[in-house]
Point group: D3
Chain length 255, copies 6
């Protein structure tokens, strides 16, 4: 038996009970003709999808399923020194590298300022369109209870998009889904008003290194928040192989 | 004893504990001089009030109490073929027919796009005015946890209107209520963050056929979502008496 | 042992677990060089901070810690006869008198209409700036479940400001905090979705009279809502010493 | 010939050229069966309709035409001492008295804070509904260039409602108008970007005293802004007949 | 000389003077390597681009230049009988047919309700992205003075997007343009605050039939507003060749 | 006579005619007891006040009058390489240096994203507070017709704040002004709907070098937009004295 089990833990959104568990394989067949699942994950910032669903995404990708990551904000304030579009562009690039590491099909960053996501109707429609265009069988996002407002409103937006993806004349410019996808919450440790209760638990040991690779892509996080725990200064990633290896090892321990 | 008890289950909104249970009869006497209760129900779409409170409303109406249904959105996207104002007008007409079947005093549809209800200040004020103008003793709406964003925001708007209905200089164009009404949640099956806990349970067997009549009024729902479970196509209601009877029987089983 | 223990009960906001309990003394030293704690309290209306944190604030003040009260709305509708800016100015003055009674450093009223507080981005930024400018070690506000929409949205705004106060390029015009403060909820009796669970309980017997003095400052509340329970008429505070004393005694019993 | 001609001067809104001048009598016949014109006037504050269209309204009323005044804001900040709902209620009462003096059919005050009118979609829909419900042949409002933001946005809202009143599925809850009414701007002295150019000029000498009576109804304006030119203090209207007569004479000179 | 000159008349937006007239050919070369111009036109509703720029677009298309039409709203209320997504889908299809008739590269309908376009920041960013993605040399839209609010706000949105298309960190997810395009207003007959003054006049006689073909595509307009001048009823397009020909002839006379 | 007259040209806002020209000296005496004028200037971005009013501000400052510059946005996208809070902080520092060069009393940058200024009620209230707190005799801003949306909405916000600064119960937390200040537009070259018409023209030759010094402070503009005319790359300001002098000379020619 494995000693150290890295896990992805997911909770079924209350909405899932409404839709019933679709026959996933047949849904995928209908949607994209290759018999594979289609998964879309919404994380609040570049790195949130990778942190919370990087392992399972890598596993799905290995099996040929189709995974898309969406960073709902562009991460343009999460650094001690850089900010704005300059930082957003760096993060977008890091996200593409992470997608490569995980082997997933697609990654996208929405142009919404970090720290400024609001549960507007416009954003709800954006979620609906992204889910429909991906012909998603599974949709994942944060729960609406979490430490960061962007995480919470990402969760609310997923909830507000659920069911609406099936309604033909909501966003009539993109064809509706015949079945409501399965909506899953990404795991967290928050206790109020409810602790996270896993509906599905998956061991990700086999793809653990891929997940570390994905997170290692986010050098702008590694040198800033992840190194210091705040936004006061940066601790640059060493350039020498030994230093880099050590820093990567530290990162892998925190996952 | 009856074998099959259809019930209306209601939960007292947390706010009710603030106001205390008013002496309902005396409140009604003051408000409308006929000693009858005045009830207003907010449902998200045309048919939601009927589904969740149709039975108890029919019972109240039989006893001479005054019931008003408000559909907060106009239901203008909930059909596989029709949409917009055209559909909104059909639904408004169906709602009036349902009100007749239940024997209630009044029914109203607000001109808000289906799927686009937001918890704005304007909508909060609309709720306050409607509750005040009805001189309501009892107010009912969905809980803020439910599968549909319009349901959730209807619940939030009722919460946000509660207490404010008593504050004289909020919406000073409509006289405030001297007592906060009793606020009740319509029943549902959602479990997070809390399952619905009934404060009042009422058997509606005696008016069950009236409730079926009310729902039978919504032919635009019967031929679309209720027939297919999605918005892909319609299954027209048969025109022959036998077929109609059978379809109505199916409907009555689902209530 | 004391016979009658008045208490302040506080719940740690879920966010507090993220930040860890900062070494409060050292944080204060860094921030203001006098080794004292810095506390900021957000109440929805003039009198809410005093009601819910008046006792503990007086105790902190006696020990030299720095306390600031913020009334998020200006209380401009909460009276049976007066309203608007006229009332807002009276309430602001009453709040200053209350601050004097408690011995706290500062009190402030934001110019937001009573009953109209919304969880906007602008308001989130206002909270962030106020917390940063106060260099707060402790932040307190209502929970997001309460009877009044302004209370609920005050709670949401505190949640939405938490963590963001540490992010340098959110509101870059005010320097970020190096550590996330401790966020505490003010106590309440609401049960859904969770009852209030105290993390810290403090006996306020020693400062009880100060708290009564603070609340006694709010004559515009004493003569209106507190006297009648609604907004139908006022019961002026007597002008004779005996009558005033009796009214003050009644007030002290309700705390 | 009269020496002193009081005039109402109106400019045709650019939109009028689109609709063409309807055969007004026949439009009225169709709409209300009594062969009379139906006019609705939007003023930004209680007293604006009276100031700018009081004379012509009195003339129309004398001929049996149907006139409605709408104050788009409730005037709740325009006084040196009072404010809020308290002031709004006084102004609403003064407006009703003015309507009586002019002999018009109806007057209404919208519950929008003075100084806070915005050209929102909700307000656009309110204008559309009011125009349709009145079955208006003629609609009047301020131009979008004026000294007060509420005046300007009243003008923009009239513009934004024009034409939309004819579109059936905009606000489908109120039947559309078959013809676009004639839209007229109320006269003003502003020069940029264009001076007011009258399309219609009407002498109001015969009803001049009625207009003075209407404005005399606004005692809360007479004692405040109109007496002092600012909001620093009030100059109460005298209670003795001689003093009142003199004050009224001063008022009539300013019209 | 031609007897009947159909013309496209365009006014240079005030902004054009800021950018200077770019060397258009070279700009096109840089942007798309084929030496052709790239033009994007924003019309408020499906058919507005065709009406106001259909002729010149056909001429550009014949010369190999790249033209894209954008309908900013989806036209979902502009019909006497149908509405909503159902109508929006018909209009989108009619627009594609019109694009074919004109020979232009691309046509797109934004999912914004007809009659509800607002000059929001989100819409400004949408305009910026569309202009950048098209690598436009020329941008056209309505003037901000016109009879329909959607036309006016389309004009304002073009103005608000102008210049911003060149700013790298506005919408950093789409590369900025090195040069501000030429912005042109579509012609109109409105006189206030300024009449339309043509900067460029182009005879469109040679492509006139193509323009008629494009407008003929909009059967949902031909049977409704264009036939009746209002939204009371429809006059179906005849099905017989003679009747259709006559109706098409009538249409061509109105252009 | 001077050969080269640098001028500040100002247009009186239409609103000025409403207020009448106040006896400026006495107003200043009342407000600040030192008999000096108090001027506040709103520019859209850091450098706009300096560009458009730097000369006259320096002249006023030399005479002891009190001048405050407000940059309404924080300039956080106007650079080819940097952006966000990082850039905003640099620009704020450059603005302080410019204020020093001009000798004015105060300069302030509002925390609003560059390119995202909207004419909201919140921003209107911010303008009102700033004007009142400065006890302004003169207020200046851009006209609402200009090439950049931030400029236009700065002009609209000044218009929307005008008059409201005198209304006591608008923003009751800051005392109103007894007199409406003189509102002036900053000069520009735009022609539609009206060309700029100067009401006051002032030769600024005597302070010209101060103005150059002020603009020279904005190194982040000099190396980016001002050097290249777009946002593609930067041309760093030379470090050697000769190169710097030459660059400064080029700058002075463009003023």
């Amino acid at each position: 038996m494995k000693k150290n089990i890295f896990t992805l833990i997911l909770a079924l959104l209350m909405l899932a009970m409404v839709s019933g568990l679709p026959g996933l394989t047949s849904a995928a067949q209908r949607d994209s003709d290759d018999g594979k699942l289609r998964i879309i994950v919404f994380g609040a910032h570049p790195d949130d999808c990778e942190h919370r669903a990087g392992g399972v995404a890598a596993m799905w990708a290995e099996q040929g399923h189709h995974v898309k990551f969406v960073s709902v904000t562009n991460g343009d304030i999460g650094h001690a020194v850089m900010a704005g579009g300059q930082l957003a562009k760096i993060r977008e690039k890091e996200g593409r590298q992470a997608a490569k590491a995980l082997g997933i099909d697609e990654t996208q960053v929405l142009d919404i300022h970090d720290g400024e996501l609001m549960p507007t109707l416009e954003n709800r429609k954006t979620f609906v369109r992204l889910i429909r265009e991906w012909k998603a069988d599974i949709v994942m996002a944060h729960r609406p209870n979490d430490y960061h407002p962007d995480h919470r409103y990402t969760g609310i937006l997923m909830q507000d998009a659920a069911f609406m993806v099936t309604v033909s004349f909501f966003c009539p410019d993109v064809p509706q889904l015949a079945k409501n996808p399965v909506f899953l919450y990404l795991s967290d440790n928050f206790q109020k008003p409810n602790p996270f209760e896993p509906s599905v638990v998956v061991a990700i040991d086999d793809v653990f290194e891929k997940k570390v690779d994905a997170l290692w892509s986010f050098q702008s996080q590694i040198e800033s928040l992840w190194a210091t725990g705040n936004f006061e200064k940066i601790v640059p990633v060493p350039k020498d192989p030994v230093g880099r290896k050590e820093r990567r090892r530290q990162l892998s321990r925190r996952i």
